[in-house]
Symmetry: C2
């Protein structure tokens, strides 16, 4: 069963306004585990990265445990020089003191404008109020406090039974622009009451992210601030999940399901998006080849504007496959759009009527399926269309 959000046992949440954003928008979020939790994280591969990323990546290299994840929105604390890292330390110290935990148990994330020093005073003075608002029902506020250009908050939860125990995996995330694997201005938080060994937790998160957040693209831009955190506090009292066991396989499956649901919500809320687009490539020689082709098609501005214009322009799809770098063969490729055959045997499929195609293009959900007929490997990348609103949002968003 899937719900917007179910607080797993032992987790509390809060979201408040501390004055970073204009108006009364929430901009400070806290996720809190009542008991020590194992932690894992996946971070942007951008060489230019926020000190908040550096701080949390460093923290997660230690064995843990972890208790709190603090996020501020409205300011990315990126390109802020050495001061940015000191600011993270100050924030972690203050939060640790307020919550009576060690600073090493704190993780931090930031999102928003790049290059403006973190308004650390506002955050420090907001922390006591933030901590006082923690509750199991605080997730509604928390998920709003991490938003930037997002139009809607994003959350996903599921519960499943494992050896007589009920395990809950719940996540929230933000992101709508600068979205591209690996990571993007994408913050994701998944918490679970499952008991999971640290090594298994790290591997599970990597596997899940690889099939979810790392398979979406909105505009091809990778952010300086992306991270996905996973905390597992073991409050479900199950036997700790170990790598290589059936329990581990099931955990990864369920974690992946939550992460995919979250990632898809990001694409649906892509800046200016009017469509959710799945690009599936089958019949590739290698998985990498399948990914390369799917990624090129999903990133093509010409494909994305054609989707916005509801034009079944398979020529642009084929051209993108052609320049992807994979050794595709025009005489072998088949292209289908929402089930209708567009292209095969080296030419357009004349059996498909243009009017039927145009009708299919009106769907909010588009599946572009390419079969390369070169092998048996497949992959999928998820994206949205490119609309006027993408330009408006990003032309007007101010530094």
């Amino acid at each position: 069963m899937k719900h917007p959000f179910i607080a797993p046992r032992g987790f509390q949440f809060a979201g408040i306004t501390c004055g970073i954003k204009d108006g009364k928008k929430k901009d400070l979020c806290l996720i809190w585990s009542e008991t020590p939790a194992a932690g894992a994280g996946v971070f942007t591969r951008n060489r230019v990265r926020s000190p908040s990323v550096t701080f949390s990546e460093k923290a997660l290299k230690r064995p843990g445990p972890f208790r709190a994840v603090l996020t501020n929105s409205g300011n990315a604390n990126a390109c802020t020089g050495p001061q940015g890292y000191k600011d993270c330390q100050a924030v972690a110290r203050q939060l640790a003191e307020t919550l009576s935990i060690a600073p090493g148990e704190v993780l931090i994330a930031s999102t928003g404008i790049i290059g403006v020093p973190l308004p650390v005073g506002k955050i420090l003075s907001g922390i006591p109020r933030l901590a006082s608002e923690l509750s199991t029902r605080g997730w509604q506020d928390a998920m709003r406090a991490i938003m930037t250009t997002d139009l809607v908050p994003k959350a996903s939860s599921l519960r499943y039974r494992q050896e007589g125990k009920t395990l809950t995996i719940s996540g929230m995330c933000k992101g709508s622009g600068m979205i591209h694997p690996d990571m993007a201005t994408m913050l994701g938080y998944v918490v679970t009451d499952a008991a999971v060994e640290r090594g298994a937790l790290r591997e599970a998160l990597k596997a899940a992210v690889n099939r979810s957040f790392n398979r979406i693209t909105v505009d091809g831009d990778m952010s300086t601030n992306d991270c996905v955190f996973l905390l597992a506090n073991g409050e479900a009292k199950n036997a700790p999940i170990r790598k290589g066991t059936p329990a581990y396989t099931r955990f990864v499956e369920h974690l992946t399901e939550v992460c995919r649901d979250l990632a898809f919500q990001i694409v649906r809320d892509g800046e200016g998006a009017t469509k959710f687009v799945t690009v599936r490539v089958e019949g590739a020689k290698t998985g990498k080849q399948a990914y390369t082709v799917a990624n090129a098609v999903a990133k093509s501005s010409l494909v994305k504007t054609a989707l916005f214009g509801e034009d079944p322009n398979w020529g642009r799809i084929l051209a993108a496959a052609g320049y992807s770098g994979a050794p595709v063969r025009e005489d072998k490729i088949e292209i289908r759009l929402n089930g209708a055959s567009l292209f095969k045997n080296g030419g357009p499929d004349k059996a498909t009527s243009q009017s039927a195609l145009r009708k299919k293009m009106k769907s909010r959900d588009i599946l572009i399926a390419l079969n390369l007929h070169l092998g048996d490997k497949a992959d999928e990348v998820y994206t949205c269309d490119l609309s006027y609103d993408y330009v408006r949002i990003n032309g007007e968003y101010t530094t």
Copy 2:
């Protein structure tokens, strides 16, 4: 001296309407050398390529000579299966017969809609009229007949003296969307009355294209149809230019100048473009590294929308450099925009006022200069901004 177009000795041109495009738009172009010319070509690296490209690439592998380049616009003859190649052969045969030359002396290029069979009947019946309109002043019609979404025709010429002879190099080109190295829906034609040895001609074209057409990007999409042709008929009666000579070096310099002028005209006419943007990367360890960073910045949708919005958003520039794959260091990079320092020492340059910056952003010409401070290599990539009109043009352009 540079002119829009000067017909080099012994070349004639024509452009007519044969009915491929709607209305009375010209859609058939012929470039003709009165005497046998040496030829060279550079072609798209897209794996999916028009039979027109395959046809001309094959022709140029033979020693030549060449006499005629026929271009149709309105139909790309791409993804048209084996019939597309047969159509090229039929067109070449008919043109050769009309002009009393061998079919092997004909080069072909096509641009326009992908996936629709070439309207070969219209072309065949247009050829006699096209040939009858050949003249040294026909370049005005010719440059219009190669246009698709271009708003303006594009041409460039120069003359220089070499050992007592006057050499003329003249080019025309089309292209405004699907522009990305290597090549794009980019057709370029350069003709010269210089006598140039075949090997030297090929090498010269490659060098010139590498510093011009292969350094521009409009939307990151590489076309199935790009080509640049160079014909040299030797009517200037100079001693044939050989590789490794000072005359060769000068020829490459002048050819590059013409190609850059043409390439820049393509960027200025980029679909929806309001600005011409040069991304210069200096201080790289290798030339490839410089190119990688410049290319990532020039391709970033977020950088390009910020330029459209006239927002000096150096954060997006830095983020793109960071995800380019090159080992850039945030604490070393310097970014300047039209001379104003935006970023150095790991943070924004506070000495630069925002109001001064915003004024600089209003310029139609933007130079983004990054110094990586890692070495002494440099490269440049040229692009335009991303505007509403890009989306409108590509959302509405129909298959």
